[in-house]
Each structure stands twice: as structure tokens, then as C-alpha cells.
Symmetry: C2
Subunit: 218 residues, 2 copies
DNA sequence: TTGTATTTTTAGTTTTGTCTAAATATTAAT
DNA sequence: ATTAATATTTAGACAAAACTAAAAATACAA
């Protein structure tokens, strides 16, 4: 399994190609930051190895084997992210790039030991669930902050946008996973919010509210 | 800098190509487990990038720049080996293969943080010195156990053969770095030794004695 | 339904790193 | 000093993973 093949499988998974849904050549090219013609080549190769289902002009989806491989890469990526944050004091906006490299290290023992060292975390620094060794995990129930109405409150459990810029913005405003957020007021005009987070009141634009995941309380 | 380029620089360093000495195409091919013709190609490419001095039919040696790069890879390799042993309970015969992969991860911050987490170790699990950030280190004074005479003693500080087979043999006989070894008797016929190690007496073949480094005492 | 726009595939190149086989240079031996 | 053995380089090919440009299939819209 080459690094490139692993990256394709991961990308297909993230685009939803693990349950029935077929992923188009163009969409995959976009996600992989490459050209559609390159995707076609790789689709054939992965199909040859029975990692994806590929029908000409209809895109790709993961086979059981492909899904298993994708989940193993995702597991490694997220565990390394936790390691970097918890053990090496990286901030959550710095870990992705390094994890992109570390996820390709080939050693079962290594990743299992990392898992153990971290005491089997269930979520990565961005709130995404970490699959177990045998590819199981449960997506946490969550919704975007922008879906909440006045007076509703919840706990911040994840981010949709994982860009460094967004994460740094959250840091600057002392918004972190685990914090309680209550919607005090919604401005009809621009859909901005007045929220109370960890005691402090804060004004939040709709772009922000559209990228913060909340677990609603009561 | 590609992974392959890094591996070549490291191999040249290990063969002694960092001080004057020129490394032959054949020797490098042997070390890299590849063909001489491939080495010639790479020699040209590295020379183009001013990482090695290459003269046709005369082999390669590292430039200052090449040496610096090689030492940075070696530093990473050895720090990762320490990490695997100290933090993840790998045994010293398991770490090399994984470190061969980890040494190519590109992140200054990562390796500096690992260094810090390990409290700036000076030697790796096999007794080899770890270069600092700016490529400095001192080779420990040491000699092969086979060079000692009867009655002489010292501390076990390293291994020459780092093969898994040899390291496991040492484990089995409870020979570890840091242990004190005293030569009780030398058998003229086969140059085998009778030694006392950590209290226990042990018979050791010349092949073993030729691959254990000792720091002589008094 | 017919024509246009979009998507996807094919064909042909490129780069990196490898290989084999053949040519050439160097070294060692008579 | 020739010759034979060995080491090294060249030439040509291949596989992986990308690209561009052109052809073909599909989707959409008048
Ligand atoms: Mn990530
Ligand atoms: Mn993440
Ligand atoms: Mn090693
Ligand atoms: Mn080592």
C-alpha cells in the first residue's frame, strides 16, 4: 500500500464513499488537489486491488477492504493528533500537517502503544471520533451552533472548519472544546449571535456559528 | 529533499564519507542494498545539489551541507529510537525498523519536542551518540570487549552489530548497556572469554566479544 | 430532441528512482 | 607492458504518480 493510495482511500471515505454513495472523479480530484485524469488512473489501480468499486463514468466507492484501510489511516491520523497535543504541547491548529505524515508510518505496534500511552482517547483535538483497532466508532450527536435558538445551551464538542485561521480565532476568543455555550440573542439581520461562553458574553458572526459543533443540553 | 536522498546521505555518512574519505560506488550500493548504476545516478543528483563531492570513477564524499543534513537525519533516527524504548516500551531490537520511517518526518518542532520530552538524551538505545540540533556530538571512548585482557574490566556502553538476532541474544544472557563486565579468562584456542557480568559468570564466544563495546575502567 | 456544456477518460509526457545489459575505465597480475 | 579482472558509468527500459491536450461520454437546456 503506497502513501498515495492511502491518501486516496482516506479522501474517498471523507467524501462519503463508504456507504453506497459513489464519489465522482471531479469531486475526488478537488479533494486530493489533483487533476481528474490522475484520479481516473488511481481509480483503476485501486479497483484492481479490490479496494474500491469503480464503474467508468460513475465514480468510486469503498469496498469493505477499502473502508477498513481508510479507517485505519484515519485512526492513526487522529491518535497522532492527540499525541502531539497532549504529550508534546502542540496547539490544535498545528497538528494536522504533521499528522498527515505520521499517519503513514507502518507499525501496528507503534500505533497501539501510542493509543495505550494516551489512555485510549475517543476523540481527537478537533472533536472527531477515533476509530478503534477494528474500525468501530460512534459519531457523537451534535449540531451547529447556528442551529440553536435563543436561550438554548450546550457544550462545544467540535469544529467543522479545521483551518488554522479558524482555530486560532477560537483560541483568541477563549472558545475551546468542553466549554458551555448559551445563546442569549440572535440578530435577525445578519444571523449573528450574542452568546455566553464560560461566563463571558461574546458576539459571534454567523460564519463562526456555522463552524462550531455543539452538543445540546436538556 | 526526498526520502531516498536522505537515505543516501545517511549511508555515505555511516561509511565515513564525512571526513575527506571518498566512498566508492560499489560500497555505497552494498550499504544501500541497490545496484551501482543506481548509485551513480544519485551521486550526480546529489552533486548537482551540492550535497556531495562527486568525481567520476572516484566516489563521493559529503560537503558541509551534506554532512549537516546527514546528521539531522541521524539525530532524528536516534531520538525516535530512544522515544520508542523509553516511552512506548519497545525493546532495543524492535526500534530500528520503525525509526527508519520516523526519521523522515519533516517537522523541526516535532523532533525538538521529542528531544525535550526525553530530557535531551545523549545516547540511543544501542549506545550511539545523538547529535545536537546543530550537529555536534562526541563519540564516547570505547573499545571492543575482545580487546580486553584477563583481569581488565569495564562498562558495557554499546553494540557494533545491531541486528535483532544479536540484541536478542544479549537480552537472553542478561547483558545490557550499563552493566559491568570483567574478563576472568581468555581461551587462546578460539579466543572465547570467561567473563563476570553483574555478578554472574558467563562464557562468551569471540563473535560476541567482537561486537560489544566496553568503556574500560581504571 | 437536438445541440451545448460539463464530466470523464484516453493518449502521450514527465519526474523520481530503480533495473539490466553493454561499454568504458581502473586496478591487479603475469 | 600487456592482459585479465574488477569497478564504474552509460544507455535504454520500467513502474509510480503526476501532468496536458484531445477525444468520448454524459447531463442539461432550449
Ligand atoms: Mn487532521
Ligand atoms: Mn483532527
Ligand atoms: Mn537504528
Ligand atoms: Mn540505534
Amino acid at each position: 500500500m503506497t502513501r498515495s493510495e492511502e491518501n486516496y482511500l482516506k479522501a474517498i471515505y471523507h467524501l462519503g464513499g463508504h456507504k453506497e454513495q459513489s464519489i465522482s472523479t471531479n469531486a475526488l480530484a478537488e479533494e486530493m488537489d489533483t487533476k481528474p485524469s490522475s484520479v481516473t488512473d488511481m481509480a483503476k489501480k485501486l479497483a484492481e486491488k479490490t479496494l474500491v468499486n469503480y464503474i467508468k463514468y460513475q465514480g468510486v466507492s469503498l469496498t469493505a477492504k477499502g473502508k477498513k484501510t481508510a479507517l485505519s489511516i484515519i485512526r492513526k491520523h487522529r491518535l497522532w493528533e492527540v499525541f502531539l497535543v497532549k504529550k508534546l504541547d502542540f496547539s490544535w491548529d498545528e497538528v494536522h500537517e504533521v499528522a498527515e505524515q505520521l499517519e503513514h508510518i507502518k507499525s501496528e505496534k507503534l500505533i497501539d502503544k501510542i493509543d495505550e500511552l494516551l489512555e485510549f482517547p475517543k476523540y481527537d483535538p478537533h472533536g472527531d471520533p477515533i476509530p478503534t483497532k477494528d474500525g468501530e466508532f460512534h459519531e457523537r450527536e451534535k449540531q451547529l451552533l447556528s442551529e440553536l435558538k435563543t436561550q438554548q445551551k450546550g457544550i462545544c464538542v467540535g469544529v467543522k472548519d479545521t483551518s488554522s485561521a479558524f482555530l486560532k480565532f477560537l483560541d483568541k476568543n477563549q472558545i475551546a472544546l468542553g466549554h458551555t455555550i448559551e445563546v442569549l440573542d440572535v440578530e435577525d439581520f445578519d444571523e449573528s449571535l450574542l452568546v455566553k461562553i464560560d461566563g463571558k458574553e461574546l458576539h459571534i458572526s454567523s460564519q463562526i456559528a456555522n463552524n462550531l459543533y455543539i452538543k445540546k443540553e436538556n
